[in-house]
C-alpha cells in the first residue's frame, strides 16, 4: 500500500487506520521514506528515532488489530521540536551545550502524546534555545523552507513546520514565545496554534522565557489542531503556572460558524513596510470572514509599537536566568582542561552557546543588573501591562482580532543575520500576543508572486481557544489554501 503522508491529515489518517486501510507501521515507513528523500535538502530533523518509532507503530498496530485504539492520535507519526524533553532520546535544544544530553524524563506534553499512542518520530531543528525567528541560529545548521530552499522556514520552531509542510510526518509540536509557532506556520503554509499561556503545561520544555513560553501544534488543517490541542491542554500539577480550567471538546465545537462573531482589525498592524501581497491577502481574508457572518471593525492597540522593546527586555532577562544552569556540572557539555571553577563555567558556556544565545543572555543580564533594573526590566514589566490592557480593551468589544502573521513572506537565508535588530522586527505582529498571554493561530491565506505562503493570524480572548478554532475552521472550509503543498522541486537560490 503506497501511503502518501503529504496527502493525509491527522484526522483522515486516524479514520483510515481504524478502517485498516493501512497500518501504523506502513504509515510510519512512508514518513521515514519521505524523510530520507527530503532531509538532505530540508534538514528539518536533528534526531530521527527510527527504531523507537517502529516499536511504537508496531504496538499501535497490535491495538488496532484488537480494535482498541487509544485515541485519534494512536499510530500517528508526530515530530517534536528539540526543546521537548524525551526520555531516552537525545534532546539538544539545537545547542552544542546539550549535544549529547539524554533526558531521564518525558515532559508532560510528550507524556500526553505517548499515552494516547502517538508515534514520536523524531526531534526537529530549531533556533538554539528557541531564540530566533528563522532557525538560522541552530548550532547544527539551518532548516530550509520547502517552498523555496533558499529561504528560511521561519523560527524558532522551523524544523517542525518544515516537517509537516513537507509531509515528513502528520503533525508536529513547537513552542511559541514571541511567535515561534505562528511565524514558521505562516512561512511554510500550514496551521500553527499557540494556546493561552497556562493552557498547556510547560513542564519538560527547555525554558526560554518562563512568562511567555507556550506549547502548541503544527498541523495541515484546523481540525487536526483542535484534536491535538484537546490532547495537550489541561492543568498539570507539575506546572504551577498551568491554569486549573476544563479542556473543552475542541473538535466537537469547530462547527459554530461566524454568526454574531465580532472581529477587530488592529490598525497598527497594517503599516508601511508590509509586503503588498501580504496586506491584500489578509484583507481578502477579512472580507471573506465578513461574508461568512462576522462583523468587522477597526480597533486600536496604541502600544503596539513598544511590544518588541518590551519583549526583548523581559524575554532576555528571564532567559539569562533560565540558561544559567548550563554549566557542565550535572549534565551537558563541559569544557575539558579548565583549571578553576570559574574557567569551567566560562569555557563550557562559551564553547556551548552560539552568538545569538550569548547576545540575549548578555542583554538580559544587563536589563536586570544593579542600577539598571528600573530602567529596563522594571519598565518593560510596566509596559507589558499597557500592552495587555490594549488587548483587554479591544477584546471587550470583539471576540477575535485579525491581522497578518508576519509583515512579509519568508526571507532569504542570511538576509537578516548581520543585523540582529532587523531579525527581531520580523516578530512585530506576533510578539504582543505573548506579552498578553492570549491564544492565537496562523492559517494559510494566500501565496505571493513567488509562490510563498502568506499567513492569517487570528487572536482570541484568554482561554478562548474554542472560538478561535471555530472561526479559523469556518475560514478554512471556505478556502483551499490549506490544501496547498510545496512544489516537488522548489526554486533554489536566485
Amino acid at each position: 500500500m503506497n501511503v502518501d503522508p503529504s496527502s493525509l491529515t491527522l484526522a483522515g489518517a486516524a479514520l483510515r487506520l481504524s478502517a485498516r486501510e493501512f497500518t501504523a507501521s506502513e504509515l510510519l515507513e512512508a514518513c521515514l521514506r519521505r524523510i530520507a528523500d527530503t532531509e538532505p535538502r530540508l534538514h528539518a530533523f536533528l534526531t530521527v528515532s527510527e527504531a523507537e518509532a517502529r516499536r511504537q507503530a508496531a504496538t499501535a498496530d497490535e491495538r488496532f488489530a484488537r480494535g482498541e485504539a487509544l485515541s485519534a492520535l494512536d499510530g500517528i507519526p508526530i515530530a517534536l521540536k528539540d526543546v521537548f524533553l524525551t526520555r531516552g532520546v537525545r534532546t539538544t535544544a539545537a545547542s552544542r551545550i546539550l549535544e549529547n544530553f539524554v533526558p531521564p524524563y518525558d515532559g508532560t506534553a510528550v507524556a500526553r502524546l505517548r499515552s494516547r499512542g502517538a508515534v514520536l518520530i523524531g526531534k526537529t531543528n530549531c533556533d538554539e534555545f528557541a531564540m530566533g525567528s528563522s532557525t538560522e541560529n541552530s548550532a547544527y545548521g539551518p532548516s530550509f523552507n520547502p517552498w523555496d530552499w533558499s529561504r528560511v522556514p521561519g523560527g524558532s520552531s522551523g524544523g517542525s513546520a518544515v516537517a509537516v509542510a513537507a509531509g515528513q510526518c502528520l503533525a508536529a509540536l513547537g513552542t511559541d514565545t514571541g511567535g515561534s509557532i505562528r511565524l514558521p506556520a505562516a512561512y511554510c503554509g500550514i496551521v500553527g496554534f499557540k494556546p493561552t499561556y497556562g493552557r498547556v503545561s510547560r513542564y519538560g520544555i527547555v525554558a526560554y522565557a518562563s512568562s511567555l513560553d507556550q506549547v502548541g501544534p503544527f498541523t495541515r488543517d484546523v481540525r487536526d489542531a483542535a484534536i491535538l490541542l484537546e490532547a495537550l491542554a489541561g492543568h498539570d500539577p507539575r506546572d504551577a503556572t498551568s491554569a486549573p480550567v476544563e479542556t473543552p471538546g475542541y473538535e466537537s465545537l469547530l462547527d459554530r460558524g461566524l454568526d454574531a462573531i465580532r472581529i477587530g482589525v488592529p490598525r497598527e498592524y497594517f503599516h508601511e513596510g508590509m509586503q503588498p501581497e501580504v496586506e491584500s491577502s489578509v484583507r481578502e481574508a477579512i472580507a471573506l470572514l465578513e461574508s461568512l457572518g462576522a462583523s468587522v471593525e477597526i480597533v486600536s492597540l496604541p502600544h503596539a509599537g513598544y511590544a518588541i522593546a518590551t519583549y526583548y527586555l523581559i524575554a532576555t532577562a528571564e532567559a539569562s536566568s533560565n540558561l544559567a544552569r548550563y554549566d557542565g556540572i550535572r549534565y551537558g557539555r563541559r569544557a575539558g582542561g579548565a583549571a578553576t571553577l570559574v574557567d569551567t563555567y566560562r569555557q563550557s558556556r562559551d564553547q556551548g552557546f552560539g552568538p545569538e544565545v550569548k547576545r540575549r543572555i548578555l542583554l538580559g543580564t544587563y536589563a536586570l543588573s544593579a542600577g539598571y533594573y528600573d530602567a529596563y526590566y522594571g519598565k518593560a514589566q510596566k509596559a507589558r501591562t499597557l500592552v495587555r490592557k490594549d488587548f483587554e480593551d479591544a477584546l471587550a468589544r470583539c471576540d477575535l482580532l485579525v491581522a497578518p502573521t508576519a509583515p512579509t513572506t519568508a526571507f532569504h537565508l542570511g538576509e537578516k543575520l548581520e543585523d540582529p535588530l532587523s531579525m527581531y522586527l520580523s516578530d512585530v505582529l506576533t510578539i504582543s500576543v505573548n506579552l498578553a498571554g492570549l491564544p492565537a493561530v496562523s492559517v494559510p491565506c494566500g501565496v505571493d508572486a513567488c509562490g510563498l505562503p502568506i499567513g492569517l493570524q487570528l487572536i482570541g480572548k484568554p482561554f478562548g481557544e474554542a472560538t478561535l478554532l471555530s472561526a479559523a475552521y469556518a475560514y478554512e472550509r471556505s478556502t483551499h489554501w490549506h490544501e496547498g503543498r510545496p512544489p516537488a522541486a522548489p526554486r533554489s537560490a536566485a
Binding site: 513598544y306 522593546a309 557539555r333
Partner: protein, 130 residues
C-alpha cells in the same frame, strides 16, 4: 472558567534601593556610565556576571550590538508608566501547592548518568578555595 479577566499584579516591584540586612552588593560599574554608550568594559562586566567568556573581538562586536538594541529599547522611555503596575504573571491562576509527601522518581542513577564528572556519588568540580 470562561474567558478569563485580565489580572494586573498588585504593587510595584524592584526598588533597587531596598536591601535586606546582610546582602552586600558591590556597586555596579555600569551605574556611573551613560546607558546609551556601551563600552567593552561594560560588556566584560556583564559577561563576568553571566559567566561567559568573550574574545576581544566578540566584546567589541557585542558592545556595538547591545548599544543598538538598547538604543532601540530606550523608546520605552516615551511611555508614562508612573501609575502602572508591573506584570509578573499574565493571569491569576490561583495558588498551586504540593502536598508534603516524598516521591522518588526517576531513579537517581539515571539522573546522574548525564554528569560529565562524578566521583563516589558526588559531582566533581575544580577545587574551590574559600
Amino acid at each position: 472558567m470562561a474567558e478569563a479577566a485580565f489580572n494586573t499584579a498588585p504593587g510595584p516591584f524592584g526598588t533597587t534601593e531596598w536591601r535586606v540586612p546582610g546582602e552586600f552588593e558591590e556597586a555596579s560599574v555600569l551605574c556611573y556610565l551613560h546607558p546609551m554608550k556601551i563600552t567593552r568594559e561594560q560588556v566584560r562586566h556583564v559577561a563576568a556576571l553571566a559567566r561567559l567568556e568573550l574574545s576581544p573581538q566578540e566584546e567589541e562586536r557585542i558592545a556595538g550590538e547591545l548599544e543598538a538594541i538598547l538604543g532601540y529599547v530606550d523608546k520605552l522611555n516615551e511611555l508614562d508608566v508612573t501609575n502602572v503596575a508591573p506584570t509578573s504573571h499574565v493571569f491569576d491562576v490561583g495558588a498551586a501547592f504540593r502536598e508534603d509527601e516524598v516521591r522518588n522518581e526517576p531513579a537517581v542513577d539515571e539522573l546522574l548518568e548525564n554528569a560529565p564528572d562524578r566521583w563516589q556519588g558526588f559531582f566533581r568540580v575544580p577545587k574551590i578555595i574559600e
